[in-house]
């Protein structure tokens, strides 16, 4: 059947209807954990596996706050491999290139199913080629929290890397040699996982404040190291120097200003890429020039936002994940730098999530189509290269969603008749800003009206596509393989698109 964005999905899945369809349904919550026993400490993973009776077909979850420096998922994978457990279901909130052992386990059939919000590197390549025997489910950050709390994604054991744990089993993310800052992505795992293990390399007597409450923690596993610090806070802090990126960023900031969106008490979120950081810099200049004080910035937090908080340009930062060391330090010392869980960030059923309070968001795209549907999951050949993360959550929540991208990336046009994979529905995407022009979603008549007398280079998205084709020619259409390797699950749990195996013959 065709779903709400015109994608063919199997009849046996819940098909996406529209982005606010969740409002017709009530929030489903399984019981939160009610642990009576004390937290037990282990220093041997093998013994802990025995204690937990971890066996084939179980679901193990992880968070990705240690990013490309994470050692915990590799540690657990090693034990799964040693025991030759099979048909395992892994649910890491993201998968980074350093998670190499996962690839072997996928090829050998130890891992057959995966839930994640974002993936790239070798694991993404293997799954794209059809090596995962079961299915890959790509969630949004808010959607993963929803799936866990509702029981759609039941977790047998949640392995939560935690930079510091006290002797009672409370945890904190911003203290210790592997400090990563906030721990927003694992809160649902903590509260709803059948068993919860904190994995740490730093045990102290007592935490005065904690992010993880021991009342949910069954076990603590003490190891030598949970992560490589160089890979943990690996977000870029550099503003782009690329003239095209700077032009797009400047146009974006000027457009925001023209639309009156940079005003007192406004709120914003951007990605953490170099062009997004340039937008932040230009917005900051406008704020300073006009004496604007914003309400909050949210998301993965970078130094750029920390500096603005400290300069009094924002009242608060809401942070689900620290991208750099400045953000970690800020979270430790500044009470206005506030941690939020993935659920508080983007769960559609949360009471007033942060994403719904955003005035505008600046996001990227691998592809965008004539209906403004956005793909950040696969490239134009269908290779998995990313995932929604919070993309679909904040695109839905924000009043104005802006996509910034060069019109052509490595000779490939970003505008398509139809995107290869729908990650975020076009009804939630309002503006596309490229170096050669700006397109406004015709659904946003209010924005078109405001801009009709402006000097911005406004085109229809069809005109921008024609212009791109004049430069690049019309790319050959890629016909995907018929085999479905997974699904892109919208934040409400419906299927917005299928992921198909790479079709090499199409190349």
């Amino acid at each position: 059947m065709l779903n709400g964005v015109g994608r063919e999905v199997p009849d046996n899945v819940k098909a996406f209807v529209k982005s606010d369809d969740f409002k017709k349904r009530k929030r489903t919550l399984i019981d939160k954990k009610n642990k009576q026993s004390k937290t037990v400490f282990f220093d041997d993973l093998k013994l802990l596996f025995d204690e937990l009776n971890i066996s084939s077909k179980m679901t193990l979850s992880f968070h990705h706050h240690l990013r490309n420096g994470d050692k915990v998922i590799e540690l657990v994978s090693e034990e799964v491999q040693k025991r030759n457990l099979t048909d395992m279901h892994f649910a890491p909130s993201s998968i980074f290139p350093s998670y190499k052992l996962l690839g072997e386990l996928i090829k050998e059939g130890n891992i057959t199913d995966i839930h994640t919000n974002y993936l790239n590197g070798e694991v993404a390549d293997l799954i794209s080629k059809g090596f995962l025997k079961g299915k890959l489910i790509m969630n949004t950050h808010g959607g993963r929290a929803r799936a866990i709390e509702s029981g759609d994604l039941p977790i047998d054991v949640a392995f939560i890397a935690c930079p510091t744990v006290d002797k009672l089993g409370n945890g904190h993310g911003a203290i210790g040699k592997s400090a990563c800052g906030t721990l927003g992505y694992c809160i649902s795992d903590l509260e709803y996982g059948k068993k919860v293990v904190l994995v740490t390399d730093n045990v102290i007597d007592e935490l005065k404040e904690h992010q993880i409450n021991s009342e949910y923690v069954d076990y603590v596993l003490v190891v030598d190291s949970i992560g490589e610090s160089s890979g943990i806070v690996s977000g870029t802090t550099e503003v782009t120097k690329d003239p095209i990126g700077l032009k797009i960023a400047k146009d974006c900031a000027n457009l925001l200003d023209y639309l009156g969106l940079i005003k007192n008490d406004f709120s914003m979120q951007t990605g953490a890429g170099k062009t997004s950081l340039a937008v932040v810099k230009f917005v900051e200049e406008i704020m300073k020039k006009n004496n604007i004080i914003g309400s909050f910035a949210s998301g993965g937090i970078t130094k750029a936002y920390v500096d603005m908080l400290e300069a009094g340009l924002f009242k608060n930062l809401y942070d689900v994940q620290c991208f750099d060391l400045d953000a970690v330090n800020s979270f430790s010392k500044n009470k206005n730098h506030i941690a939020m869980s993935a659920s508080e960030y983007g769960n559609p059923f949360e009471n007033s999530p942060i994403c719904d309070k955003l005035d505008f968001v600046i996001l990227g795209a691998t592809e965008i189509d004539l209906d403004f549907n956005v793909n950040v999951t696969t490239d134009s050949m269908g290779n998995l290269i990313g995932g929604s993360g919070g993309h679909a959550d904040i695109a839905y929540g924000a009043d104005v969603t802006i996509i910034i991208s060069p019109l052509i990336k490595s000779r490939i046009p970003i505008i398509k008749q139809k995107v290869t994979t729908v990650t975020t529905p076009g009804t939630d995407v309002d503006i596309l800003i490229t170096e050669r022009g700006i397109a406004i979603n015709p659904l946003r008549k209010d924005l078109l009206d405001k801009l009709k007398n402006s000097q911005f280079p406004i085109y229809s998205i069809n005109d921008l596509l024609d212009l791109t084709h004049k430069i690049t020619g019309v790319p050959k259409q890629i016909i995907p393989d018929e085999k479905i390797i997974g699904y892109v699950e919208y934040r409400d749990g419906t299927i917005i698109d299928c992921l198909r195996k790479i079709n090499y013959e199409s190349k």
């Binding site: 003239p243 095209i244 032009k247 170096e435 050669r436 000097q455 004049k470 430069i471």
Partner: protein, 282 residues
């Protein structure tokens, strides 16, 4: 008419592909200093393909050819056959250079039935400065660009932040251009990270009489365009003068807000309005 001209190396496909995107009034495709000897032929081929196949060329294209004492310069001039080049930038310009290029162009145009083209002299030698008044009268010439880096090399002096050392050369370019109704284009500001310095030096250059500036990075264009454009205050003043003149068409001189307005001032106002219209400032 220009305010800004952006240099783009002729051997860089991605920069060429995006050459039309930036705010430059003209783009200078460089086949000379930016291209190493072993890249000269490749760059020329790339520029040829770009000019003949791209559907999104900049509005005004300037080609900087290699100097006339090289083996590449005549091959570079073959690119004129694409009919996509609006101006030629002649390096190391002096009287002999301008004469020789003109003679070669005469033959090239008549043999190939090509449209005429305007020249921009790049004055970057002591001889070029000394002879500027002679070759500035050349009919194909429409502008003179000062090249301070090579000039100060020739003079064996260092560049400084104050640009004191090029004051004479700047003045020579400005006076030669004003005398012959050419556009004076200032030397690029080479520290691409010093935006404050660029703004200050450009404002000074404009106050001397420079009408435009060459840029070596797209990030310099916004400031250069702003500095070398008439200000809002100038435009408003010019409109008032023009309006008052239209109300008094037969009066040689009249007063506006207590100030005397006569023919030279009316001409200045007209130039400002013309520039403002051209650059979409009103």
């Amino acid at each position: 008419m220009f305010r800004s001209l952006l240099f783009i190396p002729g051997n860089n496909p991605s920069m060429l592909q995006n050459a039309d995107v930036f705010l430059a009034d003209a783009v200078i495709i460089d086949l000379e200093d930016a291209i190493s000897i072993k890249e000269k032929d490749n760059a020329r081929n790339l520029v040829h393909n770009y000019l003949t196949t791209s559907s999104v060329l900049p509005k005004q294209i300037v080609l900087r050819i290699n100097s006339i004492d090289t083996v590449w310069y005549k091959k570079d001039l073959d690119l004129l056959k694409t009919n996509k080049i609006n101006y030629l930038l002649i390096p190391k310009a002096d009287s002999k250079t301008i004469i020789e290029v003109n003679e070669y162009l005469d033959t090239l145009f008549s043999n190939n039935n090509l449209d005429e083209i305007k020249l921009i002299a790049l004055v970057e030698t002591a001889r070029g400065i000394t002879e500027i008044d002679k070759f500035a009268e050349n009919k194909r010439l429409c502008a003179i660009l000062l090249g301070a880096e090579d000039l100060t090399n020739d003079l064996e002096i260092k560049r400084s932040e104050t640009n004191q050392e090029i004051f004479y050369a700047r003045s020579k370019v400005i006076f030669a251009c004003a005398t012959n109704k050419l556009i004076s284009i200032d030397t690029p500001f080479t520290n691409i990270n010093d935006i404050v310095g660029l703004e200050k030096d450009s404002a000074f250059s404009k106050s001397l009489g420079m009408k435009a500036r060459a840029c070596i990075h797209p990030n310099q264009l916004e400031i250069v365009n702003r500095i070398y454009s008439p200000s809002n205050e100038d435009i408003n003043w010019a409109l008032e003068v023009f309006k008052a003149h239209q109300a008094n068409p037969n009066v040689g001189a009249f007063q506006l807000k207590g100030k005397m307005i006569d023919k030279p001032i009316i001409e200045r106002a007209k130039k400002i309005i013309e520039k403002a219209k051209l650059f979409n400032l009103m």
